[in-house]
Symmetry: C2
Subunit: 162 residues, 2 copies
């Protein structure tokens, strides 16, 4: 647990602290914080959940294979979370332990757009209690939850016929 990190300490500080926390996680896992990995974290920091093509678009110097490989390293070390919906590409975002921001996703079922949203804290707590109960009853050990709100985004609802 030497690399454990409190979300509050990071949320309270700037990007420098976040990168330091990322470095800690990677070092603890026995890998280095290379410039490619730094670049990926930087891109994810600046936007919502991104697909691989979107990440490559932001950083044209990244090789596709390296981006995929580094993303899986970052996922394994808990720096990045891979989220997958019913669209062709998976999306990647910084893990909540780093951003210190628990949130959910609005997902456009038409274009695949994903937007971060928050739920009232009281509801979130109530949810946590209920899920803990439900998981235990089924013999599961609880790790967390993902709440995806399905719908259509403004752009896809817009009157675009003909």
């Amino acid at each position: 647990m030497s690399a454990s990190v409190t979300s509050s300490s990071i949320a309270a500080n700037g990007d420098g602290a976040l990168h330091a926390a990322v470095r800690e996680l990677l070092i603890a896992a026995g890998v280095t914080y290379t410039s490619n990995r730094h670049a990926i974290v930087e891109v994810l920091l600046s936007a919502g959940p991104l697909t691989l093509p979107e990440i490559l678009h932001e950083r044209k110097d990244l090789a596709q294979s390296s981006a995929y490989r580094n993303l899986s390293v970052l996922v394994e070390t808990g720096v990045v979370r891979r989220i997958v919906h019913d669209h062709d590409h998976a999306r990647f975002e910084l893990d909540e332990q780093l951003t210190g921001h628990h949130h959910h996703h609005l997902v456009c079922s038409q274009c695949g757009l994903v937007v971060d949203v928050d739920l009232p804290m009281a509801l979130e707590q109530e949810l946590d209690r209920a899920l803990e109960r439900v998981a235990t009853r089924s013999g599961f050990t609880l790790d967390g939850h993902d709440l995806d709100i399905r719908g259509k985004c403004t752009r896809c609802c817009a009157p675009v016929r003909s």
Copy 2:
């Protein structure tokens, strides 16, 4: 809307009513309820969310390509829902409008097992209200929500080390 179906009417009856409702949905979409499609619905009726290999295992007479094609027809007509998590195969289950049973999923992050679970109705209602508010605020039209509870199942938690 001639093919609209109230979930209560189906939930109250046996499988016959369900198949009739499926037929209605398909006819309304201009396709027929063939024996292959019937077989798929039958398999999904008898178990939780299944992957394609699992469906083929149950019905060895189904061709892989036909199963995929028919599943996509069933998904497009609202008979079946495709659910995708971080594992290799997507899973398929009957749509809630047919089963009349709103539920969520416990997902084992190790083996990919998916189990249906219910939440207290009061919480579900509170959730609906909150999600409606959140979606509207972001300009989304709400279609529904998916709550996935991440964890490890009994089998994967078990002391299997050496």
